[in-house]
Symmetry: D2
Subunit: 333 residues, 4 copies
């Protein structure tokens, strides 16, 4: 068997510690060996929880012989140098957005990787791994909507901290839709226009929340994005793509809905038990493994198995006789 990938996590604030925990509890094939943070206390805490070692200097962490790959979740300003150090060592890096904080430095990173001739840098646009976005992209790619002409995005947060201003709404929130639009349409964005709206009462002075953003693309397509980060409601992230032969909507809390040229709207019914309960099987096994490691169970037990047998016996008799059959069960030991 292949031994685990040894991963260093740089920056273990909210996002980095979330990654470190996920890697060490739910992802197979990786071990978090090194964690680094400017807060020694926070690094120690995450190290303890994941069984990793703290390395105080991020570049030492990248260079550590016990590190095969790196997750970067440090503040954006630190990304450029850290990503370049990973390239220097020739090891894969998963870098949270933004790649760097300026166009010029981001382009320099792109060129450095290109010079190396290997793809080592992945950027943390996680929506591409969401089942609905993936299904929508596949639907478009296989021509299910004809020529995609419009992309409508909605990004609503229930609340954000007071310092989250109009510029951050673009850089931290709209940035996700920027990647979604590029991912879905497979072409570059060529222009941006923003309409500042009447601010919601809870917006700080001077912050335009909500705003409407209108993008155009190389192919002349239009994409719109409503960005509203203090709705007071919940987390609503939606995308509708309108094509020349139908439209599809994800994020309505109802799975993907498609409108097609036969004049119907709707979604797919789950085709089989794997699609319907595949995640339940993973969860069942993951929880059972954890319990079994402790010598016990975490789920339905022998009594539940017995009760099912007893009821099914009565059920089979009911099928055969057409009568109402009483279930016969012994006392619970």
């Amino acid at each position: 068997m292949v031994s685990d990938l040894k991963v260093a996590v740089l920056g273990v604030g909210m996002m980095g510690s979330y990654h470190a925990t996920t890697l060490s509890s739910l992802v197979r094939g990786a071990t978090v060996t090194v964690v680094n943070d400017f807060s020694a206390e926070r690094a120690a805490e995450v190290a303890a929880a994941t069984g990793a070692r703290v390395v105080d200097d991020p570049f030492a962490a990248i260079a550590d012989p016990d590190v095969d790959a790196v997750v970067i979740a440090t503040p954006g300003a630190a990304h450029e140098a850290q990503v370049l150090a990973c390239l220097d060592r020739g090891i894969p890096v998963l870098c949270e957005k933004p790649l760097t904080t300026s166009i010029d430095t981001a382009y320099a990173v792109v060129k450095a990787e290109a010079a190396l001739g290997r793809s080592l840098i992945q950027v943390g646009f996680m929506r591409r791994f969401d089942a609905e976005y993936a299904a929508l992209r596949e639907l478009i790619a296989k021509g299910g909507l004809g020529d995609p002409l419009l992309v409508h995005c909605t990004h609503r947060n229930p609340d954000v901290p007071p310092h989250f201003n109009s510029e951050m709404m673009i850089r931290d929130s709209v940035v996700h839709e920027v990647d979604v639009i590029r991912f879905l349409l497979d072409e570059e964005i060529t222009s941006v226009q923003v309409t500042r709206g009447r601010p919601t009462p809870s917006a700080p002075e001077g912050v335009s929340d909500p705003m409407m953003v209108t993008f155009t693309t190389e192919g002349g397509r239009i994409a719109t994005d409503e960005i509203f980060v203090r709705t007071g409601v919940a987390y609503e992230v939606r995308t509708e793509v309108v094509g020349s032969q139908g439209s599809a909507f994800i994020g309505l809390d109802q799975n993907m809905l498609v409108k097609s040229t036969d004049g119907r709207w709707g979604g797919s019914i789950t085709p089989g038990f794997v699609e319907r309960f595949g995640q339940a099987y993973v969860t069942e096994l993951q929880r059972w493994v954890a319990a079994a490691t402790e010598g016990t169970i975490d789920g339905p037990g022998a009594w539940d198995g017995y009760a099912a047998v007893a009821v099914c016996e009565a059920g089979v008799e009911a099928v055969l006789t057409g009568e109402t059959v009483a279930v016969q069960m012994g006392p619970r030991p």
Copy 2:
């Protein structure tokens, strides 16, 4: 760090090989060390895919020193002896339904485990680990529907093999609803009545497909189950619970819908990014770990990071100026 739980998988037909693969690719903390099947060829195949060793005799597999816990996915008739052997060795076992094939043997297993004084047997009713069923049970348990009075279940398969007769419809399909009803209501079923319906044209001679099953429980509650396994449509598994203060519906391909005493129907909006994209993060990391182990990436790359930076720069300028701003990007290296 804790070392992996060493698991033997007995029976590697459809269900067992699915479990073996899931354990060795998506579940953290377990290693499939031993596989067993009456088909030596099939056992060898699954062993090769999971890095396990084949043990020809199931009881030898259970007794193997390299085994900490057992997954049983053999035919039902083999379950009793295999589960008891696990109890004898005092190791945890996850046994696919049915626990055993008769009321008496199932009760004997229950008593044997009770005599041991430890919970070692878990039964594979995986729906309890599905997010919708878990949410529904939680809603009921916290009183969100008042007193639960009715449970309506629907179990529809697109198709089944010709030998799947009315009795198997009870033992293999309705059995899931039997557990769901007990899980949701937290009480035992006391009677069963079955109405055989007009058979669908594709039903084999003598098979009553669909049927309606009506259960009553200790508390006088009613549960119904439509069982229809040759719908020609898709896999539809639904449950509606009707209580004295509202009702809730899962499996409508629209997430859980609740009707409440304020006269409204609807569902919850995903409250935050973890609930919305938590699974995407796991998938992103799992796929990145697999790619990074090969020294490459599997997701958005440096160019995508650069493009996002470039568009956001233009976006921020658009916010500040109110103008339509062209995105400036260099050529792709």
Copy 3:
């Protein structure tokens, strides 16, 4: 032009006065000329509101020369004689359910009409005129679901008076589903079975609320009905029909949803403006006629027309120039 049908309404309690008002305010081609009720006061009130004349004796009302047709909304016990009197005079009658209060008298009425050789009796099963039920029947009739095998009905009221007992739940509520099942399947019901459930806390002593009813039909089909009249929630009337080639669901507060053999669920998108806004046109005209009769309007006025012209002018200029165009409007006079 044809002159109005002169209608007598017998019984002007809740249902009868509702019919009288509807006939005289929303239905074209009829005039309520006569009303009758055992309460002289109530009769006088409805007569005043509809411009009708009170006739104290129901048989005198039926015989009145100013009456071309009769609506019967009296208590059930009075129906037999009143319907027969209409047959005697040879005039059409719309009789609220029940036709009569016993099988024998109902059959006698059927035979009396058959002897007459004309269809004069219509029974007030109004669901047949609901767009969703009509669409569902049409879908079944044209084979859209293959062979219809199961009908699942749900009838939930938020509340009913305390005297509404289990028998009335059958006679006054389930009776609607009885007609729905016959209407949809176009065959007779041959057996009925009832399961009495755990009563909801608000049910009076001895009343089984909710209950599950299971019907079978001439063709061996199964129909089920959940009857629950004290849900505390709202008015929920649903029907799902499951056939050999798909299923359809109405009453989900989401228009008709169909599951089809292509593995999709969904509904029809409104095909055109008539289907979408046809009722709006009727309402617009009905309200405008009422206002115009008073010499005024009841809807968007000249200023709204002017504003639309002004905005569209700016819009056309915006299309042509690509610029943001300010709307120019004069002061409101």
Copy 4:
């Protein structure tokens, strides 16, 4: 009783003949006495169908002593003079959009009516009479969404004639959203900006279909409108309003959906039978009146009433006995 309003319909093309037919078959209290059209043949046809008289000159029609009110459905260029003629005679007029074809003439009409001191002109923005738009406006007006900040409109037609160009998309389609925005927000629109999109393959040369329109209002609110008139799908007219305390969506083919600050999405369950079946009662009575005028019925007959009685008798026995009860019915005469 009040006698009918005598209405002249000017212009009986698609819209005018639709109004004439609706007025004379479904609206109570009006009689179409006069029709006028530049096509004598078409006028004669509609006159025959509605029992009206043809008057060749529109101004003679307006002046006709047998006319109390006027519906104008002539081409837009004719509206100004015809509306002013109605004002001169002091009679109510329902004028299809546009009120007139220029800002100046529209403003002149507004001032003429203001000088008269009476509201006589209604403009045919029929969406205000649609139940969903009315419910949305009411929700906003009573503060259900807090401060309404954004309005998103979508207007999609399956197809339009080839001559329907970008300018007509504004004047004939977007104009409806212009009124919807003003109706919902109760304030004026102050600017318009249009983004021309990549044209759908079926768009004629030079026609920008789809387009995105961005409006701002007096209160600084943003409204957007996607206008796409050759989708090949169906008629989709949607509006979402996003406020500081929730959002609401109509036109999703699922009735109005609201997202509220309790983190829930959903709709209202129909509260009672009047809301659920009110339209069915009107349809039942309207069809019965038409049939009864011919001396027959158009709906469930005596046999249906008898069958319901027979099944309910069996049902009541089933409640009392707990047994399956066979339904007893005589042969159909």
